[in-house]
């Protein structure tokens, strides 16, 4: 033991200065905390973050053109697409050589598919020529310009060469431009003609419907949260179970319940006919449209609105309301000027959460949305699993993810992710 009365730096039990000893202890503590977190962080990075990042890269990945047609791209380097002239013989010769190798390796259909997204019709030119070119003797047969055009007059089209030149880079913005209804022309981005625009419509519809769902959740959630927060705890806990039960019930159960209830021959229409509100002949169409999606999703997401509102309202001191009333405020003024502003953080937290969840929904719109009530997620799923245009699916996904992450960041700033509560 060191003598406490001695001068100089204060020492720890083992003789090192206390300051250094404490710093070491702190370092050890930090290290230990990180060691505990490390396995999970690694796990999430490998099973989740990396896959998502990998998919996002697909939205700009364009290596296929470079890989399959390297000689053609090199030969096209000096060609000016603005001249509206076909490229020189050298480019045709390079293309013939590339096409022959590609046809042998069976990669020409892949590049054909890629370029076909940008200029429909290219695929058949590539595919038809690939079969023939395979048999050519590239060294000696020539000249190729006439020969290729004779084989398929598609090669005489300047637009085809422009497309190859435009999409020759290793990375492309093409998919993203497609995702916002634009395309990459020879001289930069241009807007697609009106009749080809679908993605913007869908993006806007997704946003609009998510907003409607969020607002209906606020409208339905606020009174319930208020009631829960102002009832004695024992009653509130009982009612809270009514909110938590839907939260715990399988999403598919809830969606199938709505699918069954909203049918034209379903319980809701039957009841309305029985009461006499609706004529048997014109039963309401409640499903396979926007309305069906909105009803079902409001129901599914309502607990995510009520719970954050409830936890904020619980902290509002009832004496403020009483004070306002004692000073002559009417019930409405007291609520609107005193209570409501204090409950806004709860509304904010719930709204962001509901909106984030709504924007990315897939299952419910797919099942009850029909064609009019689908979301951007459904189109992403279509491109990934059915159409095979992975790049476009990834670009749409990247846009959706950007929206969600922005809101996530806002949520973290306002509420803090630590404060997310589950029941």
């Amino acid at each position: 033991m060191t003598d406490i009365s001695q001068s100089g730096p204060m020492l720890a039990a083992d003789g090192t200065p206390l300051k250094r000893s404490l710093a070491r202890a702190l370092r050890m503590q930090k290290l230990r905390a990180l060691m505990l977190i490390a396995p999970l962080l690694l796990f999430i990075l490998l099973t989740f973050i990396l896959p998502v990042a990998d998919m996002l890269y697909r939205s700009v990945d364009n290596r296929i053109v470079q890989d399959v047609l390297p000689r053609t791209i090199e030969a096209l380097e000096d060609w000016d697409p603005g001249s509206n002239q076909l490229p020189e013989e050298a480019a045709f010769a390079a293309l013939a050589a590339d096409l022959k190798d590609a046809a042998n390796a069976k990669t020409h259909t892949k590049v054909a598919k890629r370029l076909n997204y940008e200029n429909p019709g290219i695929a058949s030119v590539f595919r038809k020529s690939g079969r023939k070119v395979k048999k050519w003797d590239v060294e000696n047969d020539g000249p190729y310009r006439e020969k290729l055009i004779e084989l398929n007059d598609g090669w005489g089209d300047v637009d085809l060469w422009k497309t190859i030149k435009t999409y020759s880079g290793v990375r492309t913005a093409g998919y993203f431009l497609n995702a916002v209804d634009m395309k990459l022309g020879a001289d930069g981005a241009e807007v697609r003609p009106e009749n080809e625009r679908i993605y913007n419509t869908l993006l806007i519809r997704t946003m609009r419907m998510s907003l409607i769902i969020t607002f209906s959740c606020i409208l339905l959630g606020y009174p319930v949260a208020w009631l829960l927060a102002n009832l004695p705890a024992s009653k509130a806990n009982l009612l809270l179970i009514l909110v938590l039960l839907p939260f715990w019930t399988s999403l598919l159960v809830r969606t199938s319940a709505w699918k069954i209830l909203l049918q034209q021959q379903g319980v809701i229409n039957d009841t309305l006919v029985w009461i006499g509100l609706v004529d048997d002949a014109n039963r309401l169409v409640l499903i396979n449209n926007e309305l069906g999606t909105i009803i079902a999703m409001t129901h599914i997401l309502l607990p995510f609105m009520i719970l954050p509102m409830y936890s904020v309202m619980q902290t509002i001191n009832p004496t403020y309301m009483r004070a306002a009333k004692s000073m002559g405020a009417t019930d409405w003024t007291a609520f609107w000027r005193v209570y409501f502003p204090q409950s806004v953080p709860g509304i904010g937290a719930g709204s962001i959460l509901v909106f984030i969840l709504a924007v990315g929904y897939y299952i419910t719109p797919a099942l009850v949305g029909g064609t009019k009530g689908t979301f951007i997620s459904n189109l992403i799923a279509y491109h990934i699993s059915t159409s095979g245009n992975w790049g476009l699916g990834a670009a749409l996904g990247a846009i959706l993810l950007a929206v969600v992450l922005l809101l996530y960041w806002v949520y973290d700033k306002i509420v803090g992710i630590d404060n997310v509560k589950l029941g």
Binding site: T47, F48, A233, S256, A257, Q263, Y362
Partner: protein, 284 residues
């Protein structure tokens, strides 16, 4: 609002009761769709609506036919077993990693705590279709696509945010002097963890586990992409059933799932109250 004062005016009285009616209707909206499928599942006919016999409470109108279909049908049974094989494994993985990390995160000095937290919670926030597509591409590249292991890992990742949230919430009220006292009396960190910390945070760990279980048990989108026919789960079967021709057997399945949810909810609520009582936070 808790009680109407005796001096309330007629207008206030009217508003008080109409407000309660409005709230009642909203509660009805929340619960009715779930409750209504339970009687419908006992329908003797293949209809999705109440038959006149059912409304008359005639025993003829009710039957267990849809339940027999569910338990007698091979594809439903396989999918149920697949779900029961995948969900517990995914739960074990997320609870093990999640609890360790939650303990690490609730230490007083953690560098980059906010950023780490944001990453760990992200599987809950990122739209499922994006996670599913990403996992589909990445897992096919490393040979996990269409395997049991792949689905388990994917579901474990999705369940982790829930474990982190519930366990860190339990640790917020944890009294650190208890572990210090244990160490003071000569217990090594492992003993301290298992004998002191673990029993106290157990309610949080179990509810986190239940959340992770239900996440995996309910999950459709990721399993559609990452799984193959061999991993066809119950939700998958329901999803295709709802998409193609909808069979009333779904009502029986839905009722069984609702019963499971009620059991899980009851367990979680009980644990939450117990944990609050133990920590002296219980509301009266």
């Amino acid at each position: 609002m808790s009680a109407l004062p005796p001096y309330a005016s007629t207008g206030q009285r009217a508003w008080y009761y109409s407000f309660r009616v409005i709230c009642g209707l909203i509660f009805f909206f929340l619960i009715a769709p779930i409750v209504v499928i339970i009687p419908l599942s006992f329908n003797a006919q293949d209809f999705f609506t109440f038959t006149p016999e059912m409304l008359r409470l005639d025993p003829e109108g009710f039957s267990l036919k849809h339940y027999r279909n569910f338990f007698g049908d091979d594809s439903w049974q396989t999918s149920m077993w697949n779900s029961l094989k995948i969900a517990p494994m995914a739960t074990i993985v997320s609870v093990t990693f999640g609890t360790l990390a939650a303990i690490g995160l609730s230490q007083p000095h953690v560098p980059f705590r906010r950023a780490i937290m944001a990453i760990l919670i992200s599987p809950m926030i990122v739209p499922l279709i994006i996670s599913a597509a990403g996992m589909y591409f990445f897992y096919s590249r490393i040979g996990l696509q269409g395997t049991y292991m792949g689905v388990v890992l994917a579901h474990a990742a999705l369940g982790i945010p829930f474990v982190i949230i519930t366990v860190t919430a339990t640790l917020v009220g944890f009294d650190r002097s208890l572990t210090r006292a244990a160490a003071n009396m000569g217990a090594d960190p492992v003993t301290t963890f298992f004998r002191i910390q673990m029993p106290l945070i157990m309610p949080g760990v179990i509810s986190g586990g239940l959340f992770a279980f239900i996440t995996s048990f309910d999950e459709v989108v990721v399993v559609l992409f990452v799984g193959s026919a061999g991993q066809r789960t119950l939700p998958w079967q329901m999803f295709t059933g709802l998409r193609e021709q909808i069979s009333p057997t779904i009502l029986a399945v839905a009722t069984i799932l609702v019963a499971i949810s009620i059991m899980l909810l009851a367990t979680v609520e009980m644990l939450r109250r117990r944990s609050e009582r133990l920590r002296g936070m219980s509301p009266t």
